[in-house]
Symmetry: C2
Subunit: 162 residues, 2 copies
DNA sequence: GCAAATAGGGATATCGTTTATCCGTAATAG
DNA sequence: CTATTACGGATAAACGATATCCCTATTTGC
């Protein structure tokens, strides 16, 4: 069980978009080139962000993406769920219904204990992701990324932002 | 991203094995029939439990599986990791290495902030699973499963336990 | 108005994992 | 000795993730 690589891409793209000056847009082409990933496929991830309402888009030359909210209103969970979906990672196939001892027509009132524990764990995962904002990531990166590289990357992006 | 159905099977099998009298064994065949899942494939899940040291096995007629520890020494995490593996669900493809602004020969000292947050969430998921013991599950099931069905299932298992 | 660039979406192909089955081997109870 | 079992390897089918291609509508700059 492994998350899509698109999740990593989407998170990185949002981090870049967070540094974009108000009103500017950055294209799929630029984002793909910056991260060294296939443009067409990255496009699908960005479309997921768009459908989830996390980013705004414009068409035409100088078009592209920008964040739809401020970085402190965007959580990791927003981004992860936009790409990976909101479905729980544990699906119950209700195998208890196959118990040969079961009376005919017996009907489960509620999801069983196994499923509930697995879903609580899933929720713990989501809760952790919900607790980290995009702005937290930016703060950390600003501290950890060497100043020189940070500045050059910023300029690289600005040159291509429409 | 979805967990293998084998995870559900393994959890249910362990719950059944927990009710087995000391020294008795239950075969793959019985477990597969009880849960209504393919015997050959369930066998793979049980082998995973065996390799992880969570269950003991014996060969021959009246052979099968029993728990290697008491139910309060077995956590959900033990069982889930035996089947699903211990690998983290977020893999870092190090796409920051593709940043065109990066100086030649630049070397990352540590995993980046994105990966760390995702790994913390992964750990929160595992911590939750670690906090629930198999004995907790049995307690809950004993309360929720109708007494009649519980008793009949127990007898069904005993008839087939070697 | 026109040409270039863009997001969006559908169709399709490739690849790897999950799911499932089959068979041969070694061990064990009766 | 026979029947039954766990175990492991080989293999196939089904499915989802990855990746590419192409067409459309829209917008910008000229
Ligand atoms: S016991 Fe729970 S997880 Fe298992 S089949 Fe029933 S509802 Fe699903
Ligand atoms: S920023 Fe983090 S998650 Fe992204 S490629 Fe680098 S190490 Fe991996």
């Amino acid at each position: 069980m492994i998350l899509k690589s698109q999740v990593e891409w989407a998170l990185h793209c949002c981090a870049i978009l967070a540094g974009l000056p108000k009103g500017r847009y950055l294209s799929t082409k630029a984002l793909a080139e910056f991260h060294g990933v296939p443009k067409e496929y990255l496009s699908k991830a960005l479309q997921s962000l768009s459908q989830a309402g996390l980013v705004h888009t414009t068409l035409g030359p100088s078009g592209g993406y920008r964040l739809a909210r401020t970085p402190d209103e965007l959580t990791f969970l927003d981004i992860v769920e936009a790409v990976e979906g909101k479905a729980r990672t544990f699906v119950c196939n209700n195998i208890r219904a196959n118990n040969p001892c079961r009376p005919q027509g017996y009907c489960e009132s509620a999801p069983c204990a196994v499923a509930r524990v697995m879903w609580e764990a899933d929720e713990a995962w989501r809760e952790k992701l919900r607790s980290v904002q995009l702005s937290d990531l930016i703060d950390t990166l600003a501290k950890e990324v060497p100043a020189e590289l940070w500045k050059k990357s910023f300029e690289w992006v600005l040159e291509r932002a429409g």
